[in-house]
Amino acid sequence: MTPKRRNRIILIVLMIAGVGIATGFALKAFNENLMFFYQPSQVIAGEAPAGRLIRVGGLVTTGSVQRQPDGLTVQFALTDNIETIRIQYTGILPDLFREGQGIIARGRLGDDRIFIAEEVLAKHDENYMPPEVADALKAAHEKGVSETGAAGTTP
């Protein structure tokens, strides 16, 4: 390898390293702004700006979905398994919305600690499987839970 070529390689490597480090610092500085949503525990801890339009993401707590008499307004609890906040939304929910599903709500936190959502988006996970497999997994999981639960009660 001629010295000229070696110098060019060194230059390219330095360029990639320089740009990479600069981008790394920039992303670190903007880390918070790059987060698409806050988690319920962050909202409860007061990390999210109050009264401003924010997004909250988490799982819909099982058994928490309540429909109001007008048929369009829904109240449900959103959890990140640490804290829970109540969310109220008027409108059409996405097809994937269901209890236990990950969702992202955009809106404001009201004074009564109820989050008034203007938009609800459904997140889906990275798992893809036929319905039968999902059912089998669920059954196995429930069996496992009941077994460990039973084992826990015996001294």
Binding site: F36, F37, L121, H124, V133
Partner: protein, 246 residues
């Protein structure tokens, strides 16, 4: 012997003949794999437990997104080889890749949008994954524009190579965006360290389509590179001979 093969391949004349013989095979492979992938993906694969039949757009969306990253790395790598060793063929491969990569990025964005509307409830959000992929499209377009703006092909190749290498920093950002930040887009399915969380009956058509798209890229990039090689070498003896023989 291996080294010798690469030296020969890098000569425009040998490349022209070699790629011409390769093209029909690539085309056949692409057509067969696409048909097989579409058959297994759209007919044979079962519906998803959550998304029903809508998830099937994945068989186009995911390979396109993979290709958008893969082609960028090839383009930047070929550009770097062109910069260091001044191999003309590397420059040709690099710039020929740009428009194919831009097309795949566009396809990934559009199919993702069509998938997002029924599943997430929105066509577009400014989350880290979607935004970084959009930046990738702009990078591709910028590289094509820069190349077209400079008349001297050698200088153009050097300038685009540098831009392409600078843009490489975006590739890990796209890949890890769903892990570093919380996003609407879900995390990786296939390229994670433990077993892929996708059922085998869905993974097979996905991989078939991924290989098919790779062959398509190879085919198109060779076709474009052949044009470019002929145009650049138009004053050399072997191109004149080629034209006269036809």
């Amino acid at each position: 012997m291996f080294n010798n093969f690469f030296h020969k391949l890098a000569s425009p004349k040998y490349f022209y003949g070699f790629s011409g013989r390769l093209l029909p095979w690539l085309a056949t492979g692409f057509i067969l794999l696409t048909l097989a992938g579409l058959y297994y993906g759209l007919v044979k694969a079962p519906p998803d437990y959550q998304q029903g039949d809508s998830y099937r757009i994945m068989f186009v969306h995911v390979p396109s997104a993979w290709m958008s990253l893969f082609i960028y790395v090839v383009m930047a790598g070929a550009g770097a080889i062109g910069l260091v060793w001044r191999i003309k063929l590397a420059e040709v491969i690099s710039i020929s890749s740009a428009s194919v990569g831009a097309s795949f990025t566009f396809l990934a964005l559009v199919t993702g949008s069509i998938w997002g509307k029924p599943m997430w409830g929105t066509w577009w959000v400014w989350d880290a994954r979607l935004t970084s992929e959009l930046i990738l499209l702009f990078l591709y377009l910028g590289i094509i524009a820069l190349h077209n703006a400079i008349d001297d092909k050698r200088i153009a190749a050097r300038a685009t190579a540098i831009l392409a290498i600078v843009g490489v920093v975006n590739i890990p950002i796209i890949h890890y965006s769903v892990e570093w930040w919380n996003t609407l887009h879900q995390g990786p399915t296939v390229t994670k360290f433990d077993a892929p969380s996708i059922h085998l009956s869905m993974l097979i058509p996905l991989l078939l389509m991924a290989v098919a798209f790779k062959l398509y890229y190879l085919m198109v990039v060779l076709m474009r590179a052949r044009c470019e090689v002929i145009e650049r070498e138009r004053n050399t003896g072997w191109v004149k001979q080629l034209v006269e023989s036809q």
